[in-house]
């Protein structure tokens, strides 16, 4: 179908205010946070902003009948090109559909539409002393729909895991325009094992199976206390060893973060006043719960970490905790600023490896950086083996871009070699699909069959995942 005709039809269907059709407007939908789309932005044929299940159904039916691609989009903070129309089509921006439909405090659950921002939801839930624990670094901007589609997690995944276990049920508009509900969407139960678990299938499906239009989320009571321990190591291997020992001591911190020497330098360069101790690695442990349990766990961590660390500091003072945590939270920022004529890029940024291999992997990444002459800042969620590597380059220098793409490829291969995966939380999208066979082998064939069963015309977000 001609682009002009598509635009006309959509405008008729939804009304002008829910459709973008001007070429200039459409260009703004050619990127997300991925390095890929910074290099190669891809402009869609139209953008729609549905605000009801019926809106979504209408657009889906139209696309189904005319064989037009549909690309769901939340806030566009994904780092994989997942929400980009790389093969053309209509982008469905769900971020303006942001109703919290019901907070059922009694049954500890909430129903939202896909565009609700993660931080906004938790601000509302806080009024009931509840929270939805996964906490991506993009909490203030990403949508719940995007989180479900990517199965996002964050700093506190060590204890609270990812989005998936909290999703009780979904409403999904299928590629042919039919609406299904999965799992406990219609029930108010917390447990539900009835039927094949389509909820689990949809969570992490990255927009290739259907449009998620309603989400029932399980929430849990908000802990009343927290504390942070910082342990400083002269030997990189001591960091993962300490993590394992803390677990063995029966403690499950809410988060365990690592900064290696590259990250420590970056932070100190960027904000000298934070003044992190120079070391091979710094670990930050966050524990939460009630005041006595937090204090007890803090003391255990102090004792265990003290065996290997040069220094350990434990604090429950809010001011000091903010300072310590700032060391971690500014790392991503500091990485962007270590080179005045360059920036960090989001590529090869999300590998996940066994905790026991973290030290080896960090060393290997460092030598890859040397091999390609590229500075890399390493930090991440060591508690679950999810390492964020931030290559720092001048993205407008083609020669450097070429080099970094080779480096990124080697980082991905390294992850697989270490018994890990190319992505721990950000997803596959367009940027990591080429590793599907390597990571999953024959299983990819079954994934494709599932995809075909849901989307026989192949119109849902093509060019992603595998």
């Amino acid at each position: 179908m001609e682009q002009v005709a598509i635009k006309e039809e959509l405008s008729k269907m939804l009304g002008q205010e829910k459709v973008l059709t001007e070429n200039l407007d459409l260009m703004y939908y050619s990127y997300d946070s991925s390095f890929l789309t910074k290099l190669k932005p891809a402009t869609p044929d139209a953008v729609v902003f549905p605000r009801s299940t019926e809106d979504v159904q209408q657009v889906m039916k139209f696309a189904w009948n005319n064989n037009i691609n549909i690309i769901p989009r939340g806030a566009g903070t994904g780092e994989t090109g997942g929400c980009i129309a790389i093969e053309g089509g209509i982008v469905m921006d769900l971020s303006t559909w942001s109703d919290i439909e019901e907070i059922d405090a009694m049954n500890m659950q909430v129903i939202v539409r896909p565009g609700v921002i993660h931080a906004d939801l938790n601000n509302e839930l806080a009024k009931y002393n509840l929270f939805f624990p996964p906490d991506p670094g993009s909490s203030k901007m990403c949508t719940i729909g995007g989180m479900v589609a990517n199965n996002a997690s964050g700093l506190r995944a060590v204890k609270y895991w990812s989005t998936e276990p909290y999703i009780l049920g979904l409403e999904v508009v299928m590629p042919n325009g039919e609406v299904i509900t999965t799992g406990g969407m219609k029930a108010r139960t917390i447990k539900n094992v009835s039927g094949i678990n389509l909820t689990k299938l949809m969570v992490g499906s990255e927009g290739i199976l259907g449009i998620i239009t309603r989400i029932r989320i399980r929430c849990i009571p908000k802990p009343s206390a927290r504390g942070i321990a910082m342990a400083v190591f002269d030997n990189l291997d001591d960091a993962p060893a300490t993590v394992l020992e803390v677990y063995q001591a029966g403690i499950l911190p809410s988060g365990i973060e690592i900064l290696d020497s590259s990250a420590i330098h970056a932070v100190n360069d960027f904000k000298p006043e934070i003044n992190l101790p120079n070391a091979e690695a710094i670990l930050l442990f966050e524990v939460d719960g009630n005041p006595p349990s937090v204090e007890y766990e803090g003391q255990v961590i102090k004792e265990v970490a003290g065996k290997r660390a040069r220094e350990v500091e434990w604090s429950t003072d809010p001011v000091r905790m903010t300072q310590l945590w700032e060391g971690r939270s500014v790392t991503a920022t500091a990485a962007a600023r270590v080179r005045p004529d360059g920036t960090r890029i989001f590529a090869g940024e999300d590998i996940s490896i066994p905790i026991s291999r973290v030290a080896d992997t960090l060393r290997a990444i460092r030598s890859l950086g040397k091999k390609y002459g590229i500075q890399i800042v390493n930090y991440g969620h060591i508690g679950d083996g999810n390492v964020h590597s931030a290559p720092v380059i001048n993205p407008e220098n083609p020669e450097e871009v070429e080099r970094v793409l080779k480096l990124v490829h080697e980082i991905h291969l390294l992850a697989i070699e270490m018994g890990g995966t190319t992505t721990g939380e950000h997803g596959v999208g367009a940027v990591r699909r080429s590793y599907a066979e390597l990571e999953h082998g024959l299983a990819v064939e079954y994934m494709k069959r599932i995809k075909k069963a849901f989307d026989p015309h192949g119109i849902m977000n093509p060019g992603k995942v595998f």
Binding site: L24, S33, P41, G76, A336, R337, D341
Partner: protein
């Protein structure tokens, strides 16, 4: 300097990782909800402009000019990008290539060009009486001015007929021993819209050891011109003011207007003059510039006379973007308020979110401006304040309209006016006791 060679364009565009953090803080994006209004969208579009992927035409200008220039995105950007500077540079580039499209600018010229205004001291009064529409019609501007004009006109009511400059002497001697010689940068908005602020500034400064000089021939600080794509004019205006003030040997150059102090700041001087001949003079000038409240707190450490009061007055404070975002000044105005006897200070929610006024934005983008203003007013009204204080005459105009629009009984006032009132009341009390 060529557009591509401008420091922000050359150095900062590539730093944007499109993380979207700026989406979560932009007041315009919060209303529009689509990427065309997101700060990172502006960065992207400036890049497209730089790379020749889009033409420097009206359509692109309109997209970029939806931005308030409130700088909230810039202070929150992890990569340290001055999104607003990129935007300003791009608008200026488009304007250069395509002068007819910067319609807003004509309106700006009308109310920020001293020539225009001086020609008739009653210009603003006249403007009011006749109505903007008529003036615009007479000047043949109706075709190019925004359609919201009849609505926007309401914002401009109650403009004083006499400007501050016509009432204040050039040299204002100190009351008591002299400590500092101050150059008072009397900006257009204070001069024309809030002359009472200028009077209070002079009153408070002269009572605190300052001789205050208002150099004749001060021109607009240039901020509206930057916002409306006239970088060249902004440069000329700034150069004029730099030379004017540098010809004295002031200890400080003080302004009571947040936009003026932002425009005269080191950062903005870098934006305008980096790499040009006048650079050093500009930095010398900006090193003396200080916002009035910072001066009163940090330099003078002002002690306000104790005066009697019947009942405490509830006061809340709105952070002007050009003070809080552009200069990081948030503590001093609050500290000043807390030193005023008889004040109960109540912090409002989101005190640092933009009021939607942003110079001429309320006229050029009336509807959007009102949505942002209404959000601001909700936060103000929640405090139940009797007085709404802010340090920018342009915000004051917008907030006064907000108060009227919501039928709210609340006085919009600059803090220096409250301080000056204390001095006046103390004098009266002394007289009574004598």
């Amino acid at each position: 300097m060529e557009f591509k060679e401008l420091p922000p364009v050359k150095e900062q565009i590539m730093k944007c990782v499109r993380c979207g953090k700026c989406r979560s803080v932009c007041p315009v994006f919060a209303e529009v909800g689509n990427e065309t209004a997101a700060p990172r969208g502006h960065v992207f579009m400036v890049q497209m402009l730089r790379d020749g992927k889009v033409e420097p035409d009206k359509a692109v200008y309109d997209k970029l000019s939806a931005c308030l220039m409130c700088e909230t995105c810039s202070v929150n950007c992890p990569s340290g990008i001055d999104v607003h500077e990129l935007n300003a540079a791009a608008r200026s580039y488009i304007y250069e290539k395509n002068p007819s499209i910067a319609k807003e600018f004509i309106f700006d010229t009308m109310w920020t060009n001293p020539g225009f205004l001086k020609a008739s001291t009653h210009f603003m009064g006249g403007l009011q009486k006749l109505g903007l529409q008529k003036i615009a019609r007479d000047m043949g501007l109706t075709r190019i001015l925004p359609g919201d004009l009849p609505e926007a006109e309401k914002i401009l009511t109650n403009i004083p007929t006499k400007s501050a400059k016509t009432c204040l002497p050039e040299i204002n001697k100190t009351v008591g021993p002299k400590k500092y010689t101050i150059g008072y940068f009397l900006g257009c908005a204070t001069d024309l819209l809030s002359p009472e602020v200028a009077k209070a500034t002079i009153d408070v400064l002269t009572r605190n050891g300052c001789e205050v000089i208002i150099p004749p021939g001060i021109k607009c600080c240039g901020l509206p011109h930057i916002a409306n794509g006239k970088m060249d004019t902004a440069r000329k205006l700034a150069a004029h003011n730099i030379k004017l003030f540098n010809s004295y040997n002031f200890d400080y150059v003080i302004t009571d207007c947040a936009s003026c102090s932002a425009a005269l700041s080191r950062k903005n001087m870098e934006f305008l003059f980096k790499g040009l001949n006048i650079e050093d003079q500009a930095y010398d000038f900006s090193s003396r510039v200080m916002d009035l409240t910072s001066f009163l707190i940090n330099v003078i450490d002002i002690q306000i006379p104790e005066v009697k009061y019947d009942k405490k007055v509830k006061v809340t404070y709105h952070d002007p973007c050009h003070l809080a975002n552009a200069q990081g000044i948030t503590r001093e105005p609050r500290e000043l308020l807390k030193r005023i006897p008889g004040i109960e200070f109540i912090e409002m929610n989101n005190a640092n979110s933009c009021c939607g006024g942003s110079g001429t934005y309320s006229v050029t983008h009336y509807k959007m401006s009102m949505k942002i203003l209404d959000k601001k007013m909700d936060n103000v009204m929640e405090t139940g304040a009797d007085k709404l204080v802010t340090c920018c005459p342009s915000c004051m105009m917008q907030l006064k309209y907000g108060v009227r629009r919501h039928n709210w009984k609340c006085q919009v006032v600059h803090p220096v006016v409250l301080v000056s009132e204390c001095y006046q009341n103390a004098l009266i009390e002394q007289g009574e006791n004598r």
